[in-house]
């Protein structure tokens, strides 16, 4: 008989004890960057560190850390040192994101809340931050509603709206490739609003939606969608999927040789999937929200060098989102000379960021009445390699966000302030 050198079975007491330990671990300290000081200003980052969005989440975290170090080197916020408390929101579980947000606000008493990469999670967290009256910066959640129909006085967003991304890229697509578009769209809030933004913007230029598919988030195999797309005979297959889904879809599309029959393009693209694609699949027309290679634009090179020193790679748009988000907290407190959320939110209305944080050719400012950052969008083509190993994108046009954003009324944002 096989010799068993372990106690037979796990007894109930052990199970109960381990269950209690597991529950207690949920309320343990978050991962704190910097030793706790009693009078520190606390910024809570509730963002994905695991799952599909771990890549962008990690880069946003790096950007936050870089800003944190700079702020502390300059004396902190209102003379007090700043701490970053980091929690993993998961990539798709709104319950976890909300639970962590509550923990950061009620338990850790953060002065600012940051997050989330996932638009749906950002919206859920915004409910909590609004209920608690905490200043909330959304670095990289794109769905329009965050500064649109579901806008709140305390919620500010750094990245572009899906409407702006669509407007920026559509003109290029219609002009260069043709009018018939087939959409492959991720089936959640971000995807839906991005597709409707694209259909609207393309429609205004004579573009036509010849078909489309909603793909579940995290879909692994896109071959069936690509088969359908090709059968519809479009001029462009528009990939609206993001992250790993984008990677899978593009990799498979290029394996099928589809780029020889139709144009492959999309709206939002990011460095993270481009870096993960094999070189032959780095093709297509896209819009990036920030790019590291901006010759002639002041301060960008220093930011790129600082990031390379820290991570060995160039900064991505996500790095910049995190960086700008944490700096927004510091600058808002400085301008309001207070940590009260209402004062800081009022200070941020039409607030222009200094060029060493805006890091782009156009001014970057939070539009009053909407709390949406308007900056620059970089339209161009992915390329296998360029002037440098990380130069994976050839910018053809830098669009001024302020010029293409829909009006505050059109966005559906009706902001009410606490009395």
């Amino acid at each position: 008989m096989p010799k068993s050198n372990w106690r037979a079975g796990v007894n109930r007491r052990t199970l109960v004890k381990s269950g209690a330990a597991l529950a207690a671990a949920q309320f343990a300290s978050p991962f704190v960057i910097r030793a706790r000081a009693a009078d520190a200003v606390k910024i809570g980052l509730d963002n994905p560190l695991t799952g599909t969005y771990a890549g962008p989440g990690k880069n946003e975290l790096v950007g936050c850390q870089m800003a944190l170090d700079e702020i502390n080197a300059k004396g902190g916020i209102l003379g007090r040192p700043v701490e970053l408390l980091v929690e993993d929101s998961s990539s798709g579980d709104a319950g976890t994101a909300v639970q962590k947000a509550r923990k950061l606000i009620e338990g850790d008493k953060v002065d600012f809340l940051l997050g989330n990469v996932n638009s749906a999670l950002a919206l859920a967290m915004a409910q909590v931050s609004n209920e608690k009256g905490i200043l909330h910066i959304v670095p990289g959640g794109h769905t329009d509603a965050i500064t649109g129909a579901s806008c709140h006085w305390n919620v500010f967003r750094v990245c572009n709206t899906t409407q702006m991304e669509a407007a920026a890229v559509c003109a290029a697509l219609v002009k260069e490739y043709g009018k018939k578009f087939y959409y492959i769209t991720p089936d959640y809030a971000f995807g839906h609003t991005l597709e409707s933004g694209m259909v609207k913007a393309a429609g205004a230029l004579g573009g036509e939606r010849v078909g489309g598919d909603l793909a579940p988030l995290g879909a692994v195999d896109f071959s069936s969608y690509l088969i359908k797309a090709q059968a519809a005979n479009p001029d462009v297959i528009v990939f609206l999927v993001q992250g790993d889904d984008m990677l899978n879809a593009m990799k498979q599309a290029v394996q099928f040789g589809l780029q020889n029959k139709v144009h492959l393009a999309g709206a939002q693209q990011e460095m993270e999937p481009l870096e993960g694609l094999p070189p032959e699949a780095r093709i297509g027309t896209w819009v990036l929200e920030w790019y590291w290679n901006q010759p002639g634009v002041p301060h960008v090179a220093e930011f790129v060098e600082a990031t390379k020193k820290r991570t060995g790679r160039v900064p991505t748009a996500r790095t910049w989102f995190g960086y700008l988000s944490v700096w927004t907290c510091a600058l808002a407190a400085a301008k309001a000379n207070s940590l009260k959320a209402v004062d800081m939110a009022k200070a941020l209305q039409d607030f222009h960021l200094p060029s060493e944080i805006a890091l782009g050719p156009n001014p970057a400012f939070y539009r009053a009445g909407q709390n949406q950052l308007l900056a620059s969008l970089f339209v161009g083509n992915a390329q296998p390699s360029g002037s440098a190993p990380d130069d994976l994108f050839h910018v053809t046009d830098v669009v001024n966000g302020a010029a293409i954003a829909s009006s505050v009324e059109e966005s559906g944002c009706k902001m009410t302030w606490p009395t």
Partner: protein, 289 residues
Amino acid sequence: MTQVVLFNVFNGLIVGAFYALMALGLSLILNLSGVINFAHGGFLALGAYLAYTLIPYIGFWGALIVAPPLTAALGLVVEWLLIRPLYGKDPLYGLLLTFGLAYIFEDVTRLIWGAQSVPFQVPGWLMTSLSSQLFFITGYRVFMVIIVTAAVGGLFAVLKYTRLGMRIRAGTRDLDTVSTLGVNVRVLRSLNFGIGIYMAGLAGVLAAGLLGLSPTIGANLIMPSFVAIIVGGLGSLLGTLLGGLMIGVASGLAAVYFPSATEAVIYVMMGLVLLVRPRGLLGEEGRLH
């Protein structure tokens, strides 16, 4: 429209073959050891990342040959240290352990290779399509089907014609008697686990050519494997193979008629099977009671 349907069915078979490879490894481990290996996806990811690391030194073909046995070796270590104490116990313990292992593997790969996806290069000549019409039948997918067929054929040959295979098959029926007859059951289980993990590692190398390689690559593929086993039938390897093919085709057809349900449809199938014929298509009654 018929063409789209036919293409999707055919493509579904190709994708299903891949699911079957992963599910077979899982089924092998489940049948003999009664362990529900939730970490199977983690081993798949490890196999893929090992191949990615080896490619610059020994090329794609070298990595294809070396990475799966390396993964299997790691599987043997895990089996010896962690899984062995759980044999004969409630399958729930194995599930809990491997569930935790899955998270550990994901975070370890994230720690070593980074959270972002990494580019996985497949030889260029495999990337071309068979024809302009049948563009979805790429050289790589054909190659994948060949590998899967060889692996499955090899597995069935081992099980049918070798002594080890005979003992594994006997062990899935009655392990106690096999042990009484003098077979070293500990070694048998280890080898069986190793074979299962070898298939996970092989599936990983193949997957990395098809999909983006990121730490979550295994997590997305583990559930279809379980569904394939349940649909095809617990205890039957042939059933698992059929189950894999069926869910591939179902997913492909769903893409034609109900595109946002390509993932949901496999769970609907699982639900139907559990309602109508709980042991699965070719499964044996009373497995895992």
